[in-house]
Amino acid sequence: MDVLMMMRRIIRSVATRGRLIAMSLVGLIGILIGVAINRSDPGSDFVPAEFLDGFGLIIFVPLVALVISTATIGDMLEERNLVYYWLRPIGRWKITLAAWLGAIVVLLPLVLIPMGVLGAIIGTGDDVAGILVGSLIGIVAYSAVFTMLGAFTQRALVVGLVYILLWEGVIAGFSRTAGWFALRTYTRSALANVADVALLDQPPQTTSIVLVTIAVALAAGLITTWRLNTMDVD
């Protein structure tokens, strides 16, 4: 009950008109580009799953998750009103859970609708299922990690972008071992497995993907709660 009440407030606070419009526009641009490429040369070797992977899972999902999730606790720290949850007789894990679930509730339509539409326009039924499962995995894992990031630094957007661009985009590509520590390995693998396309070498099995996602969310949740328990609150 405590979690639901806080979550409702967090959703209203995070889902500002500006953020929703900006993120929806990014999704719309992706859809338009995908449609344009698909229709420009019907005989080309355009693989819909590759575009869904490249735009959807590598750029769109982490970006939207970053903007929304870092705001859940991050906005409260910036506006110095976290105290109105922090000083109540409730476990701090409930604040973490409310923030994470709040981010997921906002992200679900914001991510799944444009990704589903894009998949349906340019791909097959398997592509749609693949991008939806991959996006869902991404929403759950990225939102937990970026919610945690928002509890640590007021520059969470910048740090998150560095993680997405530098770690996931560059370093994780250098070696297979580094790849295990990049969330996009799991989101892309989910798409590859469900749509049955070759996007990366030896993608982890679906069971592993689910287990890793749960473990990441749990670890991020524990660290966020530890942070809330030990931080100075204004």
Binding site: M6, E79, W86, R88, D234
Partner: protein, 322 residues
């Protein structure tokens, strides 16, 4: 420095031994090289206690440590027998009016205070929220978001959310800031009533008159240290007993200075210009009552009498420096 010569504390209300709501022991807090609070100890009983000190004295930091918002660098805080930072249950018995301006700006006051009640597990949170909003003279049915409220209204919303669960301990950081004179009187009455009803209220303020109106026990903090503690009148007397410096402008400064030395309890006089002198006195009351008659007897015209160290800062400097 402070305790041995400080005024005797006002007798606390009857309380069982060990039942003091707030016990602060050797509390210190530093941020890097900056010491915000240095080795302060005090006990707070039910009733109103004012934390008095100039801006930057360490009052807010001390209050934040009592609320558990920041851990002490050294020393301990016990609120209702528990550590407020670690004990979940005790947080339900504390109300905090923070100095921060931001509330949940997009919410209505009723929603904000109701949420506070719900998170304190009240069975009728909305009913309690309506009641407490009316108590602080806000309309519970106001549809406007808090963001559109004036500073005084936000201040009252903050008080409402702190009181909605009827806490045993109320910590209020400069709660009168931003209120108009009528609201100020109302807030003072409210705080007095809470104290009279057995709530342990700690109010921080840098305004001596506010503290006087609260009629409270006073803890004077300056430069992070406890400068004095006791009842307000004792502190006030201590402040009035200190040497005072007064600048006087008169038609004949030298003649007036000589007469003041002889007749007005003046310890020293320094003439800085033909029409200006600086007076040192231990008995400011005697000086005030006699200066006019002494000037008249000496046939000197008084132009201006200006206390040089009557501001709160200098009072605190004196208390700390004793």
């Amino acid at each position: 420095m402070s305790s041995p010569s400080a005024p005797t504390p006002a007798p606390p209300p009857p309380a069982a031994p060990g039942s003091e709501p707030i016990v602060v022991t050797n509390l210190s807090k530093w941020f890097g090289d900056v010491v915000a609070v240095s080795d302060i100890s005090f006990t707070v009983w039910p009733g109103v206690t004012a934390l008095l000190g100039p801006n930057g004295a360490g009052k807010s930091t001390a209050l934040r440590m009592i609320a558990g918002l920041t851990p002490p660098s050294q020393g301990t805080v016990s609120v209702l027998g528990a550590n407020p930072r670690r004990d979940t249950a005790v947080r339900g018995r504390i109300g905090l009016v923070s100095q921060e301006e931001h509330l949940f700006q997009e919410q209505r006051a009723l929603d904000f205070v109701t949420l506070a009640g719900q998170l304190n597990h009240l069975s009728d949170a909305e009913g309690a929220a309506r009641k407490v909003l009316a108590t602080v003279e806000l309309d519970p049915d106001d549809k406007r978001p808090i963001a559109s409220y004036s500073k005084g209204m936000r201040q009252r919303v903050k008080l409402a959310q702190a009181l909605v669960h009827e806490p045993d301990v109320l910590l209020a950081d400069e709660p009168l800031t931003g209120l108009d004179p009528r609201q100020r009187l109302h807030m003072i009455k409210l705080i007095q009533d809470l104290g009279a009803n057995g709530v342990c209220v700690v109010v921080s303020s840098h305004v001596l008159d506010e503290v006087e109106r609260l009629g409270s026990r006073v803890l004077v903090i300056a430069q992070g240290r406890m400068a004095a503690q006791g009842d307000f009148h004792g502190i006030r007397a201590l402040m009035d007993d200190r040497p005072h410096r007064i600048r006087v402008r008169a038609s004949d400064a030298r003649e007036l200075g000589a007469q003041l030395l002889a007749h007005a309890g003046v310890r020293g006089v320094s003439v800085s210009a033909t029409d200006e002198l600086e007076v040192n006195t231990d008995d400011v009351e005697l000086f005030r009552t006699r200066i006019a008659s002494v000037a008249k007897a000496a046939n000197v015209r008084l132009l201006e009498v200006q206390p040089l160290d009557d501001d709160l800062e200098s009072v605190f400097r004196y208390l700390v420096g004793r």
